[in-house]
Amino acid sequence: MNLYLYCLGRNLVRTSLNAVIGVAGAKPYLLTCGSITAVVSDFAGDRVPVSRAEVFAHTRVVDTILTAATPLPFRFGTVVRRERLESYIEFRKDALHAQLDRVQGCVEMSVKILRDTGQATSHPAEEQEPAPAPGPGTAFLEAKRRESLGRARQKQQAEKVAAWLAGEMGTVVQESTVHVQPTEALVVAAAYLVERERLKEYRKHLQGVLREAPADLRFLASGPWPPYSFSEPKA
């Protein structure tokens, strides 16, 4: 029998899981491995179907743990044999404790910045350019040139937005990870580690930041999450 893994923590309380159903309809339970406790459930197969029900079963269990403590969540779909889990924890014990210290008392908040497609993709200077010269070769090269220029401009804009956001968030967050995503829709994906008692302050601060943001950007703010972006030890 394999184990499906939800998260790792310390001093977790089993009673909080009593009413929760996990992946594949199984009951989650605590498995103590030395000083670290894993939240797991029995899993008969070796592959987890990516269905809405199973994804939410995973998050339901981790979110239940999050109400009382901040765990290190596993990525969806982690299935191992018990011996493998025990050796993983034993081998990485110190690093896992350091990670648990890092996220203790915090939750993850997410901010994604999207381009307003109604405005961002239009570029008057290019739109007014004359049509490409006749001939398939020339047209192809011209299209490639435009594509390349567009990507470079998107990257430049994304980096600018990321720098602006980093400067605005200040000390209201404990840690942050910011990914610049120079794509057509998504510009920046940021995750913040925020102390639970400062969540109200964080939200108020973020709303102030968004009011001052460039007009052609849209925002997707969500949370609180388990610290998915802060689970792996720092490089």
Binding site: S51, T78, A185, A215, R218
Partner: protein, 83 residues
């Protein structure tokens, strides 16, 4: 309660997308032990792009959200808005 300045759009769809972005892209990994199957996928309106780790489709989903099913209600709150 969302900020009135943040126009809340289809919270359930956004919650599902955000949930997928978190649980499929991030979190502790034991090397070689992620064995998900996309064969039984029922995340019809989300699309494979999200499953493969991109939220590139967020705007598309926002545009098509009336055709999608509602996500479960127990996901964290999500809000989107224009500054």
């Amino acid at each position: 309660m969302p900020d009135p300045d943040l126009e809340l759009l289809e919270q359930s769809d956004l919650s599902l997308l955000e949930t997928l972005d978190h649980v499929l892209n991030k979190g502790l990994v034991i090397a070689g032990e992620i064995t998900i199957s996309v064969a039984d996928i029922d995340l019809i309106f989300v699309g494979l792009n999200v499953l493969l780790g991109s939220v590139e489709t967020i705007n598309e989903v926002l545009g098509q959200r009336t055709s999608g099913g509602a996500a479960e209600s127990d996901a964290p709150e999500s809000g989107t808005g224009r500054a």
